[in-house]
Symmetry: C2
Subunit: 90 residues, 2 copies
């Protein structure tokens, strides 16, 4: 069973009040050195079988039409979760 | 200027109504083949300077103490955004 990870972020020119709130909270809690924070969404789509190029293409279309609002958000990546595991554990 | 990406997902045993809603909407909109959807959060933290191991450690602590609720969420990855660019464009 495969898994596709879709990342959606607010467009750079869009105000991100959630991110701003986090950025304001971090120094108050002792975490300095972070200049700004943006908050977006991460989806994990489980598919029956392998993550083929066709599955990725369908996931990308779903990401653009259902998982994100193209007026205010960008789909920043649509990848096979298996390709991320090596990165995350590095 | 570096960027750290933090991914937070609902724990597997926690009900995820947003993900369920998306999973229900996909087939109605013609996207079949997705068995389930989980929705989490993705944060981008901008730092002044390079993403050193110390910056990553601070980001991981911030992720666990501020960006996620450890009762219901897991921090699934804390990585240098530069390490992701090669994956996302692959």
């Amino acid at each position: 069973m495969g898994r596709v990870v879709v990342d959606v972020m607010p467009k750079p020119e869009i105000l991100d009040p959630q991110g701003k709130a986090v950025a304001g909270a971090l120094p108050r809690l002792g975490f300095t050195g972070f200049l700004s924070v943006r908050q977006g969404k991460r989806f994990e789509l489980e598919v029956d079988g392998d993550v083929t190029p066709e599955v990725l293409a369908a996931a990308r279309e779903a990401a653009e039409r259902v998982l994100s609002n193209p007026i205010i958000e960008d789909v920043v990546s649509v990848v096979d979760a298996a390709s991320l595991d090596t990165v995350a554990s590095a």
